[in-house]
């Protein structure tokens, strides 16, 4: 019995469910037949907490702690599936008996997430049983560093943190710089709001990252590894610490690993919440105890990084691919994906979509397949409007881009980017001007302030957008938005400023008429911009049930029982409570 122990399911009483299941198994004396394991994330967060039963792949969703008794007495003892907890396909309306047939999993290919949801992340033996540390053993004992680097080069792996720089090349450069001490750094400071793949990997399969870091260290002759992780990820930190202790105990970290004569050890460093730390030079400054401000490249970290020594920085997801490349071969890895983007990518699918969750798909899959097949389409039968990829640095794509095969270069070509793999789906109720303002608010907050285009420029962009969402903008402002965006992109010091105008530019390109409606007609068709909308009651639909009036926090709705109600516009704070509560669709936004 595999119980999801990821943060999402934890938040919906997953831990209590796990305890209850263990208790039931104990009480029914089934300890020898049934094993209850808390695993990493299954990815299907929409319907958590999840319990999967192997070998028959029964997939129970939204399981409550009190369901534990029935699961054990029915499924484990009598061998009957608990039908009411099975996942029901929303389109075909039929219960899925085997998770392999779920639309959500059918198109996925899990490489980086291969062990998430399969093994107990707090038990190194389970990782070893899943071919863990085999790749490391082979590299350390049988390969020369340059051959191992060649293998990574041949695989065509590109950095999964956002930039997409070829990993093998990075290693090669770092290996050629000689120094008395070199460092390997794992970037686990996942700052992109809405992306949580790195955390899921660390929570579900921490050893894979350690194994890859040792291989990385061996390749570039570094003996020290540092993991830079967000302090906001307590569960990931806990599991990582357990993994490091276990690996040391088994002799897989420390001195003379597996008798190869190679020493390598890992330390954890904590981030303190700063998006710009995703930039390698900024991250290194943060590890040195400074404000994390980026510096000019060159010198690259591979030449002068942590404490001035050659340093190789890779992201968690990138590392999670490394052991598989050595176990299955570069050729196999390179056979997946597109010409220039090999392998798979993990996406955090979120927003107005039916199946929110973490997915891993081969490069080259289309947005349509991801959103409508894996994601199960838009929530509540609404119309798809846009998908935002790449987080605050990415762009919003529309239905004309749905058939674009996803890879690093294609996304760049259409004005967005891969980024770390956030994928937020929006429907007809989302205002694109407000969405870009939302992203700019984030950038303004997270700009480190070192260079003026980013510090001042983004603030001005944010103000311009604010003016437009209030209905005070002009067409000139739209030109200014574009010009200023171009200047910021061209002149900012680091990746943050160079990409921060992307949400603005892509929405200007793809939703220009929506901007025009805001400035020319003072209208927000999505009904999001508070200053441009008002709530009205449709007299034909109102039955006078008084629910809206009773729920209005500012008492601005009046009307007798069984009479049509009215909203006093001068008092309304546009909180949406009346619309949420009305059962008769009698409240509308104009």
């Amino acid at each position: 019995m595999l119980v999801c122990g990821g943060t999402g399911c934890h938040a919906s009483a997953g831990e209590l469910l796990f305890e209850n299941l263990k208790k039931e198994v104990q009480e029914n004396d089934l300890k020898d037949e049934v094993q209850v394991v808390a695993t990493g994330c299954f990815g299907f967060c929409e319907k958590g907490p999840i319990v999967k039963i192997i070998p028959d792949n029964t997939f129970y969703v939204q399981v409550k702690p009190e369901d534990a008794k029935e699961l054990v007495s029915e499924h484990a003892i009598k061998g009957r599936k608990v039908k009411r907890l099975l996942y029901t396909d929303p389109v075909k309306k039929e219960q899925i008996q085997d998770s392999k047939h779920m639309g959500f999993y059918k198109k996925q290919l899990r490489i980086a997430l291969r062990n998430c949801g399969m093994i107990d992340p707090e038990n190194i033996d389970e990782y070893l049983a899943a071919d863990g540390y085999e790749a490391m053993g082979r590299v350390l004992l049988e390969m020369k560093p340059e051959d191992a680097i060649q293998e990574v080069l041949d695989a065509g792996l590109r950095g999964r943190g956002g930039g997409g720089f070829p990993t093998g090349l990075k290693w090669q450069i770092a290996s050629k710089n000689h120094a008395d001490q070199k460092y390997v750094v794992c970037n686990a400071d996942e700052g992109d709001p809405g992306a949580f793949m790195d955390r899921s990997i660390l929570e579900g399969d921490p050893h894979t990252v350690l194994e890859a870091m040792v291989i990385n260290g061996f390749c570039i002759n570094a003996t020290k590894g540092l993991i830079y992780i967000r302090a906001e990820y307590p569960l990931a930190i806990k599991r990582l610490k357990i993994a490091i202790d276990q690996a040391r105990e088994y002799g897989l970290l420390g001195k003379d690993i597996l008798g190869s004569g190679f020493d390598f050890d890992v330390e954890i460093r904590y981030g303190a919440g700063a998006f710009v730390c995703g930039e390698e030079t900024a991250l290194i400054h943060s590890m040195e105890g400074e404000r994390c401000e980026p510096t000019f490249k060159p010198p690259f970290p591979a030449q002068s990084g942590y404490l001035g020594k050659p340093t190789n920085v890779n992201n968690v997801e990138t590392y999670a691919n490394i052991p598989v490349i050595f176990n299955k071969g570069a050729k196999w890895f390179a056979s997946i994906g597109t010409e220039k983007s090999k392998g798979t990518k993990v996406f955090a699918l979120a927003g107005k979509i039916n199946n929110v969750g973490l997915i891993e798909v081969p490069m080259g899959i289309t947005l349509r397949e991801v959103i409508f097949e894996i994601g199960g389409g838009i929530q509540g039968g609404k119309k798809f409007k846009a998908v935002q990829t790449g987080g605050p640095s990415g762009g919003c794509l529309t239905d004309e881009h749905l058939d674009t095969p996803i890879d690093f270069d294609n996304l760049l070509a259409v004005g967005s980017m891969m980024g770390s793999g956030g994928m937020i789906v929006m429907d007809e109720d989302d205002c694109m001007v407000a969405v870009s303002q939302f992203y700019l608010e984030f950038t303004v907050e997270e700009s480190c302030g070192k260079c003026s285009p980013c510090r001042i420029g983004n603030k001005r962009l944010y103000e311009l957008l604010g003016k437009i969402t209030k209905g005070q903008g002009t067409e000139d402002d739209l030109d200014n938005l574009r010009n200023l965006s171009d200047v910021i992109k061209d002149s900012s010091l680091c990746g943050l400023g160079q990409t921060s105008p992307n949400p603005v530019l892509s929405t200007l390109d793809n939703f220009y008429e929506e901007y025009l409606a805001h400035v020319n007609e003072q209208k927000c068709f999505a009904g999001q911009c508070k200053e441009l909308i008002r709530y009205e009651i449709i007299p034909e639909n109102c039955v006078g049930c008084t629910v809206c009036a009773r729920n209005c926090p500012v008492n601005c709705i009046s009307g007798e029982r069984k009479q049509v109600h009215t909203i006093d516009q001068s008092l309304c704070i546009k909180c949406n409570a009346c619309m949420e509560k009305c059962k008769f669709n009698a409240v509308t936004i104009i």
Binding site: T7, G8, H10, A11, S12, C45, E46, K47, G48, G191, D192, P193, G194, A195, F196, R199, S200, A231, E232, R269, Y270, G271, A272, G273, A274, F275, S286, E288, G289, E290, R291, C292, L307, A348, A350, G351, K352, V356, G357, Q388, G391, P392, G422, I424, M426, D430, V435, F438, Y439, F442, E445, C448, N551, P553, I573, C575, N576, A577, E580, K581
Partner: protein, 163 residues
């Protein structure tokens, strides 16, 4: 700002000094020491920053620079029940901004501040990674998922009787 100096508990200061020592009083360990200091004191007022600066032999200005740079560090004490509203993108498109407005309206404090009785404080955070439950609100360690504007009242009610 008041000019009255905060009196720190001697035992807490001693504990902080020992933390600094455990990191060999290295200036490079500033962020790690600040993490521990925030654990001890709950927040990082100027007085705590002075102790840290002394112990690591760096200027108070530098410590202040680092504290104010990172969103995890705070110079204001949090409420007994710190409320954090996730304003990550997934929560935003599912209405987190409206939920936040409702908290601000009911508690009558802006983001980053604490109610007068010291009971609640409001902060925003970026993505707790529970996007399937969006919009997400955390009160202390407890997570509330799929929060609606009128669910806000219910959440606050849970803490009404507690002193």
């Amino acid at each position: 700002m008041t000019s009255v100096k905060l009196k720190l508990k001697d035992s807490d200061v001693q504990q902080l000094k020992e933390v600094a020592k455990s990191f060999n009083n290295q200036p490079g360990e500033l962020i790690n020491v600040l993490h521990k200091a925030q654990e001890i004191f709950g927040y990082l007022p100027a007085e705590v920053q002075e102790v840290v600066a002394n112990e690591l032999n760096v200027s108070v200005a530098k410590v202040y620079g680092v504290v104010t740079f990172y969103s995890f560090f705070t110079m204001l004490p949090k409420g007994r029940y710190p409320i954090s509203i996730c304003t990550g993108t997934a929560c935003y498109v599912r209405g987190a901004d409206k939920v936040l407005d409702e908290f601000k309206r009911l508690l009558k404090v802006p983001v980053g501040e604490t109610t007068e009785d010291g009971k609640f404080s409001i902060t925003c955070l970026r993505c707790v990674g529970a996007c399937g439950l969006a919009p997400v609100v955390m009160v202390g360690d407890k997570t509330y998922g799929r929060v609606t504007t009128d669910g806000v009242k219910e959440i606050l009610k849970e803490y009404e009787d507690e002193v």
